[in-house]
């Protein structure tokens, strides 16, 4: 790691264990090249994501949060991803209203066979967050 490396975003990823995590795994076994900026937490379902987790991640200083789950209709628990969708939709809009850059909260549907898509999602998300700069929202003065 070079001493004066430019800032790299730290992004927290919540990946559902049935689809997205498997998809990310596939990206790995397929030797896809993509940025290493997403730190992954495996969750049983995207429906596990309480908006509290997103806010906590931003509070801790993560530059972005990415929630990834199964495509609508394919959720292992039937409806978990529908709930995630509603929750993240209102969370994004609300955070934007209070002054948080909307790019910091991201979501994707990545299935177990979409290793390609996963690497693309990570590349796109990393680039977007890199463009808006580090998260100084909660920095003390």
């Amino acid at each position: 790691m070079s001493q004066d490396a430019e800032w790299e975003p730290k992004i927290l990823g919540f990946l559902c264990r049935w689809c997205s995590y498997a998809g990310a795994d596939l990206a790995g076994t397929s030797r896809k090249k993509y940025p290493p900026n997403v730190r992954i937490i495996k969750i049983p379902c995207s429906g596990r994501v309480d908006p509290l987790l997103i806010l906590k991640a931003l509070r801790m200083g993560f530059d972005g949060v990415l929630v990834s789950g199964c495509h609508p209709g394919d959720c292992h628990y039937q409806t978990g991803n529908y709930r995630a969708r509603r929750r993240i939709a209102i969370t994004k809009k609300f955070l934007e209203y209070i002054g948080v850059e909307p790019q910091r909260v991201q979501a994707s549907w990545v299935s177990a066979s979409e290793g390609d898509k996963w690497s693309q999602v990570v590349a796109d998300v990393t680039r977007e967050i890199k463009e808006i700069g580090p998260n100084n929202l909660f920095a003390d003065e």
């Binding site: 309480d50 908006p51 509290l52 806010l55 906590k56 509070r59 609508p72 209709g73 409806t79 529908y82 709930r83 969708r85 509603r86 929750r87 993240i88 939709a89 209102i90 969370t91 994004k92 809009k93 609300f94 955070l95 934007e96 209203y97 209070i98 002054g99 948080v100 850059e101 991201q106 979501a107 994707s108 549907w109 999602v121 796109d124 998300v125 929202l137 909660f138 003390d140």
Partner: protein
Amino acid sequence: MNDIESKLRTEARNLLEQGKVNAIIGFAPGSLKFTTTPLITGDKEDTDRLVINPFIANNLSVFIHDIEGPVGIVAKGCDARSIVSLIQDNQLAREDVFILGIPCPGVIDLRKVEKLVGRDRDEIDDITRDNDRVTVAVGGENKEFSITEVLRDDCLSCESPAPKEYDLLLGEDNVVVGDRELSRSHIRELESLPPAERWEFWKNEFSRCIRCYACRQVCPACFCERCFVEESEPQWISPLPRWQDNLVFQATRVIHVAGRCVDCGECERACPVNIPLRSLTGKMDEIVEELFGYKAGTDKDAPPLMTAYVPEEAEDFIR
């Protein structure tokens, strides 16, 4: 004593006498001027103390879960919506509440009156309402205001001041003088600011939060037995009152009650340090309507907002 009051007292007494309810929840005169206080009683003699006036501020539905068995409750439009929302969430059964609906002409915001006359409530002699005019007797003078100048902001944007769900409606279903734009003007103001300035605004507001949790305690939608902020393993939010954590607490709370919050404004009224909480809850109200066409507490048979879904909706932000 007005007409509605006398009807209410009779009905409430009857409900207790006939054993139809174990307790009545309503409003009694407060111990300070221009204040009422919740009256929760199983004693039919207490029903003579029930009042209906422009200061019946509390959302009484927050007390229902304290009472065992059926309860009779005085409900303005917003309270009735909270009750419907609680029924949707399986927090109470419809047959366990007897809703004494009050077509609400709006509650007066004392802070607004104080600001308009430049005096504390202690110096004000009287506040009387006559339809859409309000007279404030202070310092020997009578000052007149239009009702839209002194009504609570949430009353100004209220779309159902008379309960739609009730067992008895005490009075005529009426329309309150509303001014939705005026009521949401602070939200519009904030939206016109660049994001960094909005964040600075909230940072400043939450610097004085003392974490009394009054906002949470008066809210009927906050019915969790153990709030996320009380978890210590893991500790999601520090209990220390730093602005960062105060803001995260409130933002999370508002998101958690989305779809259940009926914008009754009690959180803002309860806040002892004057944080404009309705500029958060009111916005969430708008978000929920904009995204899902949902209005809290309007349909007791509808699934709660956050458990419902339509196969295709709100996808535009998802990759």
